[in-house]
């Protein structure tokens, strides 16, 4: 061990002394990635997820290639299934946009589910009880405003506590989801229950005046979603408020030093984030479902978090991610008839896709450094 010579004898003879060597592998943070690499990494992640999914499908005794082809044709193959797929993508996209604003300022809003419910309930109130008092397009507009305000206020509650007492927002927003859900269940089983539903605990369908019109066979929620993509993109990139959000997200200290009112940014951004989730509630009840029920969100508030994150909070990328998840969801439905594979396989493939995408981010942020040969002693 010739290395000892270079080191102090006292240190080397100490019983706790261990020869330290450079680790075999270590990682270094990188500032910029060469062009094309992000795409390569993401495509590899997608292939990895599909391969792993293929193994699971094989284990169930089906041909994975046929299953994948069937998933594509069942979600994109004809105009009618394509419309269905878009209908699934709309709420994911809108909610993802709202979540992205909160996440950009490192405010972990896990409460979109509750904010969607708040918006949906507020819109439903007007749809169910104000029809006839308001002329045709006015009812839809009032419903929209109600959903925006309700979703926004519901989203603001945890922000108030965060601003005042620094209450943990991840857990607070999570709990508010269930409080909103129980509130909706109360309405469905109690005062809003349709007396003409033969005892079934359902809320009556909305009148035609409270339904969103359709364009190309899909309710106009898709236009609202695309408009929001543009608006949120401009808000985040071009406006002063959007800039404040990024500064708060980078460092609260810096923001305070720069004279930004951090508490105001929390409240304002969470109002907008919740309001956008409220719009999801609006387009779901007034567009897709035509009524409201305890399952009307379909877990979108949670799935949309993954949409926002995988898109790196980029509104345009969210279009792609939400459509992809919608393809998985729609495409896996009919598998049970053609291959005997239960539709819950969608959850597994979606989960695998998320795992691989989340893992692959690492290769965009870090570089692996292997120990050099000379570093090896003995």
């Amino acid at each position: 061990m010739e290395n000892k010579k270079t080191k102090s004898k006292v240190l080397v003879n100490h019983p706790d002394y261990k020869e330290h060597q450079e680790p075999w592998i270590r990682m270094v943070k990188i500032d910029s990635v060469p062009r094309g690499i992000p795409l390569l990494v993401r495509v590899s992640a997608l292939l990895g997820a599909m391969l792993t999914g293929a193994i699971i499908i094989l284990a169930m005794g089906s041909n994975p290639i046929l299953v994948y082809i069937s998933m594509i044709t069942e979600s994109l193959g004809s105009a009618s299934v394509l419309r269905e797929t878009i209908r699934i993508a709309i709420p994911l996209l809108i909610t993802g946009l709202g979540i992205a604003l909160a996440f950009k300022m490192r405010f972990w809003n896990i409460g979109a589910e509750g904010q969607i419910i708040a918006g949906g309930v507020a819109a439903s109130y007007f749809a169910l009880f104000w029809n006839g008092y308001l002329p045709y397009p006015m009812l839809l507009i009032v419903m929209f405003i109600a959903a925006v305000v309700a979703g926004g206020l519901w989203g603001m509650i945890p922000a108030i506590f965060k601003a005042k007492w620094n209450t943990n927002e991840t857990l607070f927003t999570l709990m508010l989801n269930y409080i909103a859900l129980e509130g909706l269940r109360y309405l469905q089983y109690g005062p809003w229950r349709d007396p003409r539903a033969f005892g079934f605990p359902i809320i009556s369908p909305f009148p035609a005046e409270a339904r969103l019109p359709t364009l190309f066979g899909v309710h106009i929620g898709w236009i609202i979603a695309l408009l929001l993509v543009v608006l949120v993109h401009i808000y985040m990139k071009k406006s002063k408020q959007g800039y404040e959000i990024s500064v708060v997200g980078e460092s609260v200290q810096t923001a305070r030093y720069a004279g930004i009112n951090v508490n105001l940014v929390y409240l304002r951004t969470m109002f907008i984030s919740g309001a956008i989730a409220g719009i999801t509630g609006y387009v779901t009840v007034a567009g897709a479902n035509g009524t409201i029920s305890e399952e009307f969100t379909g877990g979108v508030g949670f799935t949309a978090i993954t949409v926002a994150w995988l898109a790196k909070l980029n509104p345009v990328a969210m279009i792609i991610i939400s459509c992809f998840l919608a393809i998985l969801d729609k495409g896996s439905g009919p598998l049970v008839n053609s291959f005997g594979i239960p539709s819950s396989v969608a959850g597994i493939i979606t989960g695998l896709f998320l795992f691989f995408m989340l893992g692959s981010e690492f290769f965009l942020n870090y570089r692996l450094v292997f120990r050099k040969k000379e570093g090896n002693r003995e």
Binding site: M27, V28, K29, M60, W108, I110, F161, W165, N166, T167, N168, T170, L171, F172, L174, M175, L176, Y178, I179, E182, G183, R185, Y186, Y189, G190, F302, T303, I305, T306, W309, G340, P342, S344, V345, A346, G347, I348, I349, T350, G351, L352, L354, F355, L358, G359, E361, F362, N365, Y366
Partner: protein, 328 residues
């Protein structure tokens, strides 16, 4: 009020508390290492379906020679391993690949619910309808209680007449309490959860601790799911059987202020609330009011902790952030 109703209510509260307690303990262990794993629901689904399949296939091949203890034992082992697999996937992504903890937990929930319902559906298909434990297993799983002690009036019913998973859960809570507060390794683990860089500086292997805590914690969550499918549903797969209890467990972690001892009482309280309306329906009070209480109480606890700035009962500090040594 009839004392029998009260003891019965307490009994049912404890039964309802057991899966919650497992989920909570698993998540406490995970969060103590500085990882917030929101995938409890998913890991419980994995434990529920894979634990059940282990017992089902053992019974399928053993036929009349089924030994109930082996069936339950296999369910325990595989339920644990399934949950641990979930926790391990979470660790790979958050510890090694440094993915966002919240998002990874949600992905694990989506994945776990898919795995649970898929395996459950396939099992039901294999059993031509629905799965069900054999008589031998049911005898072991059903109320065995502690001989002699269970015959004491009232107290016997309230304390000594449960199935063994209930006692297992309580022993697990006491063990975890002892581990976190009295052992060197437990102290190290808490150091990792509070300040990984300090722990690293004194030579604690942060990566190893985080992996083990999340994986074993996931395994304990998996046991909670296994209790739902094997004990509560006597070996029958019910679609979506975990039904949000993983999320209640996440709430309980906050309510119990990350303390296993408080988790026991919290779980019985939350379990009690979930069966309360069956025993004490109040006129004019809708069911949802009962259901809302656990979440409202959790928010109350959360806000109170933050107002008092209590470090004792706050979330471990490193929760939510991933540790990268070169970024101190």
């Amino acid at each position: 009020m009839d004392i029998d109703i009260l003891t019965n209510f307490f009994f049912m509260a404890v039964i309802a508390a057991t899966p919650l307690l497992f989920g909570t303990l698993g998540e406490i262990l995970t969060q103590k290492s500085g990882s917030i794993n929101l995938g409890v629901e998913g890991m419980m689904f994995m434990g529920a379906s894979i634990g059940l399949s282990a017992s089902y296939f053992y019974e399928f091949y053993a036929g009349d020679g089924t030994i109930g203890y082996i069936a339950l034992g296999l369910a325990v082992i595989f339920g644990f391993l399934a949950g641990a697999l979930g926790g391990f996937i979470y660790s790979v992504l958050t510890v090694t690949f440094r993915a966002n903890q919240n998002v990874t937990g949600l992905a694990l929930t989506i994945f776990g619910i898919g795995v649970g319902n898929l395996i459950g559906d396939l099992l039901s298909t294999h059993a031509h309808g629905f799965t069900s434990s054999t008589e031998a297993t049911r005898r072991v799983v059903a109320n065995v209680g502690i001989p002699f002690l269970r015959d004491i009036p009232i107290l016997g019913r309230m304390l000594f007449s449960y199935n063994m998973m209930v006692y297992f859960a309580i022993i697990m809570a006491l063990l975890l309490m002892w581990f976190l507060n009295k052992t060197r390794v437990g102290l190290n683990l808490r150091a990792v959860g509070e300040s990984p860089s300090t722990a690293d500086a004194v030579g604690i292997n942060v990566t190893k601790y985080k992996y083990l805590a999340a994986s074993i914690g996931g395994g304990i969550c998996g046991l909670g799911g296994m209790v739902i499918s094997m004990v509560d549903n006597s070996g029958t797969w019910v679609f979506n059987c975990v039904a949000g209890r993983g999320w209640i467990a996440v709430a309980l972690v906050i309510f119990a202020a990350w303390k296993p001892s408080r988790a026991i009482f919290g779980a019985i309280l939350f379990g009690g609330l979930s069966v309360l309306r069956l025993y004490f329906p109040l006129d004019g009070v809708p069911a949802q009011v009962y259901d809302i209480v656990p979440y409202a109480a959790t928010i109350f606890a959360l806000v109170l902790t933050s107002i008092r700035k209590s470090k004792e009962s706050a979330q471990p500090k490193a929760c939510g952030t991933n540790y990268f040594r070169e970024e101190r």
